[in-house]
């Protein structure tokens, strides 16, 4: 009997599956090559670059105003915050002090962007776990924010509201009212999210203890944002290196220690409350003044290098500019949060099942253009 078994090589073999580039739960064109033993994952190998657009190379030929517009094609869900990173770096290099009004407006829109990104994440996360209804609930509420953006910034997704030195134009007269309406509305709706998913037994079982990431690993992998904070890695740029109006508002950095999918989930939900809290503090106190300081048509940065980090919905986004005094940077590097977060995926998913991998990926909240750039 033994011989027959050996002759026929009946022993279980690892086999490979291509998850993506077209797959419903990779949220874009991410390709993962999975080594599987039955349903258990032995290795996850990401293959990137399907939408690599060489943005960094393009930046070496563009003026700084143009670069701003490239950044919201990366992490399109936190486009405003990405824009802001470049603007802040340029303003810092030029030693430009933007008016208070700009600071406050930028902060409000940052937080609205974060809210809308988390709403979308929440919907998609439910859909990844098979609860399709949450997808439409998330989008229903996100719609209100995109409407506000449309009115004020002129676009719904890639807004381009920031320019070096301030904002493209002043806020729409309705902005304050609509934002306040939205906050009042969403405060009623956010508990609904908990009713639908957070308190669901199946959902809890799917998330609890899955995809654990320890604090040391989170730091070593450079996992930031809600994902890192769920592992106990205090990495909120808004707290550690406050920019814009974050030093004058009161908010909590959401930290958890468990580092599993459910902790990441709870972190994001709690962040939504914090975001609303921040907006509430600022929305009635937008100072009067200019919405931009004039800059030259061709911005030339002095020789030197600057690194500016901001907190996007996914984590720490960094812009590293090396200038040689020209109208375009000598070298420009975007440190995108998704790229580092993705590097921890293999570590987290080993030994899990395929279904868990989907849960882990959605709690990582990957945006593929952000990774490929």
């Amino acid at each position: 009997m033994e011989e027959i078994i050996h002759d026929q090589e009946l022993e279980s073999k690892e086999y490979f599956i291509n998850m993506g580039p077209q797959h419903p739960s990779t949220h874009g064109v991410l390709r993962l090559v999975l080594s599987l033993d039955g349903e258990i994952i032995r290795k996850v190998e990401p293959h990137l670059g399907y939408i690599h657009r060489s943005i960094e190379k393009m930046c070496e030929h563009d003026s700084y105003q143009q670069i701003v517009h490239l950044t919201d094609r990366m992490d399109y869900l936190s486009c405003h915050i990405n824009n802001e990173a470049v603007c802040l770096a340029v303003e810092q290099a030029l030693e430009l002090e933007v008016p208070d009004r700009v600071k406050v407006i930028r902060t409000i829109i940052d937080e609205l962007t974060r809210l809308s990104s988390h709403q979308l994440w929440w919907g998609v996360m439910g859909m990844d776990l098979g609860a399709i209804t949450s997808f439409l609930y998330g989008f229903r509420d996100r719609e209100m924010i995109t409407d506000i953006f449309e009115e004020t910034c002129g676009a719904r997704l890639t807004m381009n509201y920031n320019i070096p030195g301030g904002l493209f134009f002043d806020i729409h007269p309705n902005f304050q009212k609509r934002t306040k309406d939205f906050i009042a509305y969403f405060k009623k709706k956010l508990p609904e999210y908990d009713t639908l998913l957070s308190n669901n037994v199946i959902f809890k079982q799917r998330m609890d203890g899955i995809g654990k990431l320890s604090k040391e690993d989170a730091i070593s992998f450079g996992v930031t944002g809600p994902t890192g904070r769920a592992s106990g890695f205090s990495c909120d740029v808004r707290k550690h290196h406050p920019y814009m109006a974050y030093d004058r508002v009161e908010f909590k950095e959401i930290l958890d220690t468990k580092g599993d999918c459910f902790a990441r989930y709870k972190c994001r939900i709690a962040e939504m409350w914090e975001s609303m809290h921040i907006i509430e503090q600022l929305i009635d106190n937008i100072p009067e003044g200019d919405y931009k300081v004039p800059t030259k048509a061709v911005i030339k940065l002095p020789k030197g290098e600057w690194y500016q980090k901001v907190e996007t919905a996914r984590g720490e986004f960094g812009v590293y500019i090396i200038s040689e005094g020209q109208r375009s940077p000598y070298r420009l590097k975007f440190r995108s949060p998704g790229f580092s977060n993705l590097s921890a995926l293999d570590h987290m998913a080993r030994g899990c099942k395929i279904a868990d991998l989907v849960a882990i990926m959605s709690t990582l909240d990957l945006v593929i253009p952000d990774i490929d750039r």
Binding site: L129, T133, L136, F203, R206, K353, I354, A355, L357
Partner: protein, 361 residues
Amino acid sequence: MNWLYDFSILTQSIHESLSGNFESGTVLLLEMILAGVAFMILFALLGLVLVYAERKVSAFFQQRLGPMRVGFWGTAQTLADVIKLLMKEPLMNKNADKFLFNLAPYIIMIAAFMAMASLPFAKGLQALDFDIGLLYISAVSSLGVVGILLAGWSSDNKYSLIGALRSGAQIISYELSVGLSLLTIVVLTGSLQLSVIVESQANGWWIFRGHIPAVIAFIIFLIASTAETNRGPFDLAEAESELTAGFHTEYSGMKFAFFFLAEFANMFIVSAIGATVFLGGWMPFHIGGWEGFNNVMDYIPPIVWFFGKVGFMIFMMMWFRWTFPRLRIDQLLTLEWKYLLPVNLMNILVMAFLVLMGWHF
């Protein structure tokens, strides 16, 4: 309009008129063909209605309207989709086993078709009334899994294969719970014959008369039958976020529609069994002593009662699907083997004890 309350009048008259014109063998054949055509029409209608219902129900759960453009309130949407599916190109992988690939959807359809044959739709409206009706249905419904396994294997796609293996494990496990929860009521009725089960509920549905064990059995039946039809939250075999579309990833056009149709037909069948066994089939709702109320209830034709109950069960299953996240495969099996099955076995014992002592109503 009497035939609406007792279909045997209608079937008898058809039988007599046929017998007058043909010899007995031909009559049998003609009747078989007639019944077959009737079931096919029912099948098609179910597909049309249930697909539309699912879309509308899901839409209302999700605070949207659903299909609204084709026909009044989108009623012709399914028809349009059928035409679309008919015109689609049937694709197949190069290495796919062509024979089995084409066979698989038919096996699933045939299994659903066979199970439908012994459902009592109304008084006197039942094609096959075996004395082992329930056993027959569970036997036939166990054939459907073969189709899923074949579909998954013959597509030559690893996602399909995983989906097929998942669904195999799932259906084989949950069949036990479905069978046992039905047996709990069989202990009460003392018969497997569906018409007898319905008749025995003339004075009250078993879910009311069977005390708590019947309610437990009903809940287990709801869970297990949802799992057996591969519907959310137990749709691991399809699991679009994990396996793209599971066992029918490679299917397109009409063959895909067959899988789709079979899913809805299976949903109808398990709902019909549930309605028959637990909710009194086509028996109206009666409350002892309320004569007037009972008369009003009697006025509603049995077939309406039957489809109403089935509709209620189907609505429950849709509700599950559009509310819950999907389980993981190990959780699914844990639920069955560690919770449902032991509870079920205990439940049968309790029920048997109740019946022995004569404590049920």
